[in-house]
């Protein structure tokens, strides 16, 4: 059974990416089956509206489908890239509909496929996901709120300080301590 387990573990996104680049319709279906729920969960968490979340999920998969050719890797992690595109679609929606102020977040930069080519599918290993989730849960409420505003709303530290009614220096200190605490707890897990 062990070789079978290894074969399963080795089955990453590389083949899927190659098929997406060849415009294989079944690859898109497989991509959706693999990540659709994850993408929907993230977007719904951000926009808090099921109908809008469905529209943005569609936009996300279309964007990846149309840009897969630019993903220059034979083993890159499509999942993290897909989630980056999903997050940006949701932030773009929140910005456009005035539910938050403009920030310095560069959507094009954060969803460019190049940085994801260096990540392997293991970046989305569930044990890493669980570690990150647990580490976030252990932050104190202010630290967690600041990190979540940065991630789920794409806010800069200046914007977070305004939202939380705190001096910028205080927010920076909270976030640095929070991120250092997470680094200490996670160690090298994500790249192991």
């Amino acid at each position: 059974m062990l070789p079978l387990i290894f074969a399963v573990l080795a089955k990453g996104d590389g083949d899927l990416l190659a098929r997406l680049q060849k415009r294989d319709p079944e690859a898109l279906a497989e991509l959706y089956d693999r990540y659709g729920r994850m993408v929907y969960g993230l977007i719904l968490r951000m926009v808090q509206d099921r109908g809008i979340a469905e529209d943005l999920v569609q936009e996300t998969f279309l964007r990846v489908w149309n840009r897969a050719a630019g993903f220059d890797s034979d083993r890159g992690a499509v999942g993290p890239w897909l989630l980056a595109v999903a997050r940006n679609r949701a932030i773009d929606y929140l910005r456009y509909h005035g539910r938050r102020c403009e920030s310095s977040l560069d959507l094009n930069e954060t969803e460019h496929p190049a940085p994801f080519a260096a990540l392997q599918t293991g970046a989305l290993r569930f044990d890493i996901i669980k570690l990150v989730k647990d580490a976030l849960a252990r932050l104190n409420p202010q630290q967690r709120e600041a990190i979540e505003l940065a991630y789920f709303e794409g806010m800069s530290q200046t914007e977070i300080a305004e939202r939380m009614g705190q001096p910028l220096g205080t927010v920076k200190t909270w976030m640095r301590r929070a991120l250092q605490q997470m680094r200490d707890e996670l160690g090298g897990s994500a790249t192991a």
Binding site: M1, A29, R34, G36, G41, L42, T110, A123, M175, T191
Partner: protein, 244 residues
Amino acid sequence: MTCDELRPDYILFAMGVLEEPEKSELRAHLDRGCENCTPGMHEARAWVYAMGAAQEGPEPPKSLRSRVLAAAGAAPDRRWHWSIAWVAASVVALVAIAVTVYQTQRHDAEIAALRDQLTRSGVEVAGLREIVTLLQAPETREVTFGQGRPAPARGRVFLHPYGVLLFASNLPAPPAGKAYEMWIIPKSGAPAPAGLFASTAQGNAVHFYRSPVSMDTTGAVAVTLEDAAGVAAPTTQPVIVAPL
């Protein structure tokens, strides 16, 4: 700025929210291939996207899959399959025979090469750690199936909020053009596809579905034999049903 000064900012940079002047400083380090900041950013990106993957929520509506595929013009054209099915089946059968002969001859050498490869690779170790974590997690639910019947597929399913791991034996290798498809069956509602897999000639199979799964609303995990391309809804009777 030094790498040590920039290290706390890796995650903010990966989120795209780092402000100036740190943003330009860190970008300059990355542009010149800084040996400290580059691997640090890989790690930070993995953490950032794990944050996004950790969201638990309801299942997307069933219709969304079709909608996404149709919008991309990627809805599978079944007529194509029928028109060349006999050619595909013949080719697959010939390839299978050739591969079987080849594999028999190369079996020992391949095993040795595989062992060597596995020894050198750290990827499998990380993957095994993932599986061990799943098996040991207190929230993991274990279900056996196929017990006490004449010759059923037997095995175990491990359900965790972030995935489903299936071990099966006595599961015949699927015929050419077919594959096993796993389904997450909610207590109410339609089954959701959870990936394709095959069993070996010896009837063994392992399938790992890495995706959030609701522990509360899932009623069963099932497996059906379907077209190798997969289907959106089961079309055959299940060969495995593991009620939770």
